[in-house]
């Protein structure tokens, strides 16, 4: 079993490496056939013909920060549900136990909803 596990992890690594290699080959091909002629105007950030005003790497108001927190909670919920989902067929007590867990988190969503975290402010 351990060998099979190691093999499946290795195959995922191989998959990622090959996908990256595929793009690198395409990049290389493009680098060989495409021209290189940089001019100062060309190297400006893309704007409507004028020099950009200010630096974009400034504080940006990210809305829905509360939602990001909510997502962390619900993603953890989803991960746990996946862990037990396979074994719930024909097991009413297990379904009820997991249902209580889901119900509690749904209450949390309703609470966040009432508190206005889901609104655009």
């Amino acid at each position: 079993m351990e060998g099979a596990y190691a093999d499946s992890v290795l195959s995922v690594i191989g998959l990622a490496l090959a996908a990256v290699a595929f793009i690198l080959i395409v990049f290389l091909l493009s680098a060989v056939v495409s021209p290189r002629n940089p001019t100062p105007e060309k190297l400006e950030p893309y704007e409507c013909g004028m020099p950009p005003a200010g630096v974009p790497w400034a504080a940006v108001r990210v809305r829905f920060t509360g939602l990001a927190l909510l997502l962390v909670i619900f993603d953890a919920e989803a991960a746990m549900l996946f862990a037990v989902a396979g074994g719930l067929r024909g097991f009413p007590a297990g379904v009820i136990a997991v249902g209580v867990f889901v119900g509690l988190l749904t209450l949390g969503l309703l609470y966040a909803w009432r508190k206005g975290i889901l609104e655009w402010r």
């Binding site: 998959l15 990622a16 990256v20 395409v26 950030p45 893309y46 940006v60 989902a85 719930l88």
Partner: protein
């Protein structure tokens, strides 16, 4: 060790499948979009304009690859890889034929919903490293959108796992019954909408909204680097429709061999066409509507579906 080699072979195959799908898909999409908008679409190059995508690809390959002076070069160059690789990887766990999934793993469904989420990081990095107001705003929008829609998407496939009693895609295919279609229909609708949002197609294309943000996170990318982003989006479309056809509509339906693959691909094609139809018909949403849809409509829908299926599986 053989796992590494097979994984690499499937990875290269996935890259080629996405290229081919983009090649045909872009042509098909432009034709369909043309018809929807009472135009003809491409028709000059080759029969029915079939070679148009080839010419466009060649043009993109021959274009100068500009790296603007202000960008954070290393991140700027790595971002397309981070966006493309997960899209290609997610293709590998889909059950294509009877008893065959390229990477046959017991956590296939989780792999499929988790891995494409990594491309959020790439899109965010692309936007931020461009050092361009539009790109930065687009990247931030993309991150907010993709993490919001990831949750309903994840929850929407869970009912099928509950019904099948396994997360291994091949086991799900074996256990699949026709009455799962009406039972998991709400889940499919949630999956469909959330997938559209994950791959930034039109009703949900706020990150790259060309009227407001030029091309969002990809504004400063040119030539082949830009093409990789477009290809990754096509890969996402292909993967989403294939996986949807597999888990919600039974994939190859137990038909062995090539016939089963054809059945499976035809089903996926219907879902893909439905996605194109939606994206060329509906106007773009507003950001607040976008987030409200994810959290106030889709997530509760997915939870209701979950409870419904939970009630059913107790008696199986």
């Amino acid at each position: 060790m053989s796992g590494l080699i097979w994984g690499a072979i499937y990875g290269l195959a996935a890259g080629m499948v996405i290229s081919l799908a983009a090649f045909i898909g872009v042509w098909g999409e432009r034709k369909i979009a043309g018809r929807i908008q009472l135009r003809y679409g491409p028709q000059e190059l080759g029969p029915f304009g079939l070679l148009q995508t080839g010419a466009d690809t060649l043009k993109l390959l021959l274009k100068e690859d500009i790296t603007p002076a202000a960008v954070d070069v290393r991140i700027f160059r790595v971002a397309p890889l981070i966006v493309f690789a997960p899209a290609a990887m997610s293709l590998a766990v889909i059950p294509y034929a009877y008893g065959f999934a390229p990477i046959d793993t017991g956590v296939g469904v989780l792999f499929f919903v988790a891995v494409p989420a990594i491309s959020v990081v790439g899109v965010l990095l692309a936007g931020w490293s461009s050092r361009n107001t539009y790109a930065t705003l687009g990247g931030l929008r993309a991150a907010a959108q993709m993490i919001s829609y990831e949750l309903p998407r994840t929850l929407s496939v869970l009912p099928v796992v509950l019904l099948a009693g396994s997360m291994r895609p091949l086991d799900i295919m074996d256990a699949w019954q026709w009455w799962w279609i009406p039972l998991t229909f709400i889940g499919f609708i949630v999956y469909f909408i959330a997938s559209l949002a994950e791959i930034n197609r039109v009703p949900f294309d706020l990150p790259e909204a060309e009227a407001e943000l030029v091309a969002g996170p990809f504004a400063d990318y040119s030539g082949i680097r830009w093409a990789i982003f477009a290809m990754a989006e096509y890969g996402g479309l292909v993967a989403a429709s294939l996986f949807g056809a597999a888990v919600f509509f039974g994939g190859y339906l137990g038909v062995p061999g090539a016939l089963g693959v054809i059945v499976f691909v035809l089903k996926a094609l219907v879902i893909a066409l439905l996605m194109l139809w939606v994206s060329w018909t509906f106007p773009r949403m507003r950001p607040d509507q976008l987030m409200a849809t994810a959290w106030k409509v889709l997530t509760p829908m997915a939870l209701i579906q979950l409870v419904l299926v939970g009630a059913v599986i107790s008696w199986l």
